[in-house]
């Protein structure tokens, strides 16, 4: 069997010692198109942060395989300072960071690729607009254009279709499908169960603890959904140290 794109080995990700993702083990195959679903506070975004390396596991380890060296990460919309005076062009161009780095010039070839990416998300003509003037959907399109340029093997999307109209999410979903066709590995945090059932073959249902992981229809079976819903959201301030052995 080929090496997995991602391997989780008894991973716990914690805020101030309180676990947000608790004892997760498993693997994601190269080329997978996987949804991560679960109630609010279930640790979905935290899991993505752990994969990118923005957060380090409190215990256990996350290993990226050779087919997942280049990672692109789409954070939740709210985490970007949109009052910063930056043009759409500059925002999207930063997708080329891996190639141009600190000083690289944006030459003819790069400029063409940026124009292509903007066209692919339907934002041609928006180059000079400050990002602060974009609507939520337009901003998400711009961020997808940046993802396009990053040309990553592993793509992590945190609620990519939240608060976005039907047409925009359909357009962006087409891009996701295109990436899937190009054998990239995709992990997306989502809330729309219909969309997950329709478009994502594999699903991880998580409620701090992993509840179910596998083929989407099976993972989202009613008994699993019920179990996830029973998760207690609040931290127990008097919780004891966890001594569960590695499975």
């Amino acid at each position: 069997m080929a090496e997995p794109a991602l391997r989780f080995d008894d991973v716990t990700l914690a805020y101030d010692r309180h676990p947000a993702v608790h004892h997760l083990s498993g693997r994601i195959e190269p080329g997978a198109l996987m949804a991560v679903v679960g109630p609010n506070g279930a640790g979905k975004s935290t899991l993505l942060k752990g994969i990118v390396g923005v957060m380090n596991p409190a215990s256990g380890s996350i290993a990226r395989g050779p087919s997942a060296r280049r990672v692109a990460y789409l954070p939740q919309l709210a985490e970007i300072d949109r009052s910063f005076p930056m043009s759409v062009y500059d925002l999207v161009a930063m997708g080329l960071w891996g190639r141009i780095g600190l000083f690289g010039r944006i030459g003819r070839k790069e400029a063409d690729r940026i124009a292509e990416a903007l066209a692919a998300v339907g934002l041609s003509g928006f180059e000079r607009r400050p990002i602060g003037t974009l609507s939520g959907g337009q901003m998400q399109r711009a961020l997808f254009a940046r993802l396009l340029l990053q040309d990553a093997e592993l793509i992590l999307l945190d609620e990519p279709f939240a608060a976005i109209d039907a047409r925009t999410s359909a357009d962006l979903l087409d891009l996701v499908r295109r990436w899937h066709g190009e054998k990239r590995t995709i992990v997306a945090v989502l809330h729309d169960m219909d969309l997950v059932r329709r478009a994502f073959p594999e699903t991880l249902l998580i409620a701090r603890e992993p509840v179910a992981w596998g083929e989407t229809a099976a993972a989202l079976a009613p008994e699993n959904m019920l179990k996830a819903r029973r998760m207690i959201e609040a931290f127990d301030p008097n919780a004891h140290a966890c001594h569960r052995d590695a499975a």
Binding site: P75, F84, F103
Partner: protein, 290 residues
């Protein structure tokens, strides 16, 4: 007539020429740093850190008198210490960075004034609080010029990651895990360097003046970082020149007059600025077709 008013003071007096060179150097280095401080929502951080420099410079003064190297090194050490401590306190304890900075700078300012008073006179105290832009010697001018040079070179070097760290730090971390922290430290170092430079010319209380006022002024004229930076440097330079001329003819203290001129530019821009000024939002004109 025009020559007498605008140029003669600088032809006639060496101290005016030196003051002008010093003010231009400060504007060149400080204004771009101010623009990024503003964009990082750290405008008041600069102010707090300017006060934090005082006890270090004051200890240098206590030991060596009005010595440039001693006061510079003391100021740099105190500035770095407070910047790092405030960051550390914010990361390790419940207090946010702005609150811990406020605590540090109040203590620092009080401590600095007490230390200077131990040995010096009220004149010395005025010197450290408001600077001596009309008494810049060669060594100080070299220091100001060096700081401006280092600042411009360093900013050019870290421009891309710094802008990204302001706008979308998570993205920067995802493409380059350590860049954000390194860039932030380099930037803080530039802030301290420019504050120490400003301290020699304008004193601890006004050192941020040629940093923040031009930056805030520039924000009213453009929404583009490059243009903002150019406008800020221009506003700083013109304020330095006009402030000196005004103080010469009206017999006003030079440092505060420079800052007042910059403040005047700020007020005018606040009202008339084309990018988000008061007039624009009060009388926006008829709405467009699309």
């Amino acid at each position: 007539m025009i020559h007498d008013t605008l140029i003669a003071p600088f032809v006639e007096f060496a101290f005016m020429r030196r003051a002008l060179v010093g003010a231009l150097a400060l504007a060149l280095g400080g204004a771009p740093v101010g623009v990024f401080l503003m964009l990082r929502r750290m405008s008041l951080t600069g102010d707090a850190m300017a006060h934090a420099i005082l006890p270090g410079a004051a200890i240098g003064f206590l030991v060596y008198g009005l010595s440039l190297p001693a006061m510079t090194l003391g100021g740099l050490a105190a500035g770095f210490a407070v910047a790092l401590l405030a960051g550390l306190v914010a990361r390790v304890t419940v207090l946010r960075e702005d609150a811990s900075l406020a605590a540090f700078y109040l203590v620092s300012l009080a401590l600095g004034v007490v230390i200077v008073s131990l040995k010096g006179s009220n004149v010395d105290l005025l010197h450290v609080l408001f600077g001596t832009v009309l008494a810049l010697d060669d060594a100080t001018l070299y220091l100001l010029a060096s700081v401006a040079t280092v600042t411009l070179a360093a900013l050019a070097l870290i421009y891309r990651p710094l802008a990204l760290e302001c706008a979308d730090p998570n993205f920067l971390r995802s493409v380059s895990p350590r860049a954000g922290g390194i860039v932030h430290l380099i930037f803080l170092a530039l802030v301290v360097l420019n504050l120490v430079a400003g301290f020699h010319a304008l004193g601890t209380l006004l050192a941020v003046g040629l940093m923040m006022l031009p930056a805030a002024t520039a924000r009213f004229w453009s929404a583009d970082v490059t243009i903002m930076t150019i406008v800020a440097v221009a506003v700083g330079a013109v304020s330095g020149y006009a402030g000196l001329v005004l103080s010469y003819h009206a017999g006003l203290p030079a440092g505060p007059t420079i800052i007042l001129v910059a403040g005047g530019f700020y007020l005018i821009s606040l009202v008339a600025g084309s990018a988000g000024g008061l007039a624009r939002s009060l009388w926006p004109g008829r709405h467009l077709e699309a």
